[in-house]
């Protein structure tokens, strides 16, 4: 490249960079604005929420939070949501990771077909499963119980975990397990002592996504629970769909914010695990 063309090239490159940055900012605004609106509205008095023009500066109030946190059904539902989301997340990560490992590594006749079938089960609309599930649960006397919801969530979480982890395990050098097999491990030993520790970033990120999926699930919770095991999304749906008093937007935004915050905190806490490359250095590099 000659000296004459260099500045022009640099300038073009700089402009391209600016365009990309601003496109990114615009996308973030687009996606985050509803969240921003929800959080902001949750601190307003109900009468201030829909004023035109919107009020940006107001006296923040915790009134809606206080009144809703005191309601027994909301705090109980919060506990239920935590229980069901972590329970189904953990169960599906254990079962799904082991299934994914088997599909990735062990030569089983028809493994590919099996994998596709399990994936296809995710294509069934949940509403088609909800009613049969309810009938089965009622027959077994299991309606409105945490375990029912946990098992129901596993039906879609396990295929999800299985496929994500299968891809992750396929990316690991198979010589690692072979070395472990020669060093005196069984298949299970190689999996738990070598593969699981180095797959922690993948396992954790998959766990987070599973927990979030379970956290925000509405349909099964609506059908399978009633009072005792009911979750926050059901409460939100109840507030939004209140045909008697009309939607209480203050409550909706406050409970919505309460639902989002734990997920964000959780994601931030495990973030450093996601970035850290644990598998580094295993091979020639």
């Amino acid at each position: 490249m000659t000296a004459a063309t260099l500045p022009g090239y640099r300038k073009r490159k700089r402009v391209g960079r600016q365009v990309r940055i601003w496109a990114g900012v615009a996308l973030c605004v687009l996606f985050l604005f509803p969240v921003f609106w929800m959080v902001l509205s949750s601190f307003k008095l109900p009468r201030d929420i829909f004023t035109t023009p919107p009020v940006l500066f107001f006296d923040p109030t915790l009134e809606t939070y206080i009144s809703y946190m005191q309601r027994a059904d909301i705090s109980r539902r919060m506990v239920n949501t935590v229980t069901v989301a972590t329970g189904s997340g953990l169960l599906s990560i254990v079962a799904g990771a082991m299934a994914g490992y088997a599909l990735a590594r062990i030569r089983i006749k028809g493994a590919a077909t099996l994998g596709v079938l399990i994936l296809m089960s995710r294509g069934v609309p949940p509403i088609a499963l909800a009613v049969p599930m309810f009938l089965v649960a009622r027959k077994l006397g299991l309606t409105d119980k945490h375990i029912t919801l946990i098992l129901a969530y596993c039906t879609f979480l396990i295929p999800y975990v299985m496929w994500l982890m299968r891809g992750f395990f396929k990316g690991l050098p198979k010589e690692l397990e072979e070395a472990a097999l020669l060093d005196g491990c069984s298949r299970y030993g190689a999996f738990f002592k070598i593969i699981v520790p180095i797959s922690l970033p993948g396992l954790l990120s998959t766990l987070i996504f599973s927990v979030i999926l379970a956290w925000e699930e509405l349909l099964f919770a609506l059908v399978l629970t009633n009072r005792n095991a009911s979750t926050i999304p059901v409460a939100i749906a109840g507030i939004a769909g209140d045909t008697v008093n009309g939607a209480n937007w203050g409550a909706l935004t406050a409970v919505g914010t309460l639902t989002v915050v734990p997920v964000v905190i959780f994601a931030l806490l495990v973030q450093k695990w996601l970035i850290k490359g644990l598998a580094e250095g295993a091979t020639k590099g």
Binding site: E178, A179, L182, L278, G281, K284
Partner: protein, 351 residues
Amino acid sequence: MSKVEIRNLRKTYDNLEVIHGIDVDIADGEFVALVGPSGCGKSTLLRMIAGLEEITSGEILIGDDVVNDIAPKDRDIAMVFQNYALYPHMSVRRNMGFALKQRGLPASEIDKRVAEAAGILGLADYLERKPRQLSGGQRQRVAMGRAIVRNPNVFLFDEPLSNLDAKLRVQMRSELKELHQRLATTTVYVTHDQIEAMTLSDRVVVMNGGNVEQAGPPLELYDSPHSLFVAAFIGSPQMNFFEGTLSDRRSLVLADGVELGLGKHVAQPGAEVTIGVRPEHFNIGKGDGWPSQAIVIEPTGSETQITTRIAGHTARVLLRGRTSIEPGQTIHLETDPENIHVFSQATGRVL
């Protein structure tokens, strides 16, 4: 330590046979190199010895026991992989001690053995590091250390040096040889590099297309290759080949009518053959010998390689020391009739 016997071993993947009934005997303490081009089955054979691939038919014996149905962990074998396969989440110390811990050895014994191996391999200062904090050569040493702490029946190496740069490879090669002389553990070493195979091993097994082409001490393979394949595979620069028909005038007639004198009586005049002469077996003659034209002269100091053309056929000549031959000059290539290898074109075998 143990001998390894391979009897009529076959391997089939989905109806495709990749190893066609191989027999190899490896004596106690012997260093055997399996060498051949990619896809010749050498790695598959090694992995079958390790127990990482199932045996379709035939038998593998380690010591006096058939190990066909014995799990890898119970074969008392240590393997060094091409990509090292170090456990990334463990320190060098734990990597090396892992197999011993699996066997339930007391911590003091593990520490002692790891320290000993680390001393041999010059890793004593790196024991607390993770694999990612090591250079390629150090990782390679850890992989070897992981194998030697176990004091196994058999060492298996799967192209262990191929990821190192050229200089380090040569250095590790002699270290490996020294290590074997010291430990005298039965070793099977897979490589596609014939120089590695020649320099390291007591015996070389040349494989081709799932068969053993020839097995023997390195120099025996070099001096009397049984087939065209072995002749071409062993030796660098490669043996020169000329295809033609044997005449009753003790000569070879090439396709274009050029006649090369062989200086010896060869049976079967009229046979279609390929003759081979190693580059260093040519001498520059005075007026007799095969007339040829020097094209490229490549001196390396200790020797000089000359690329010549004999009536359109390229031949390489390796001379010890230096030469005053200039490109374009006509030279006469002589060779001792003993050094001419004659192979059948039909079978590729030596005549």
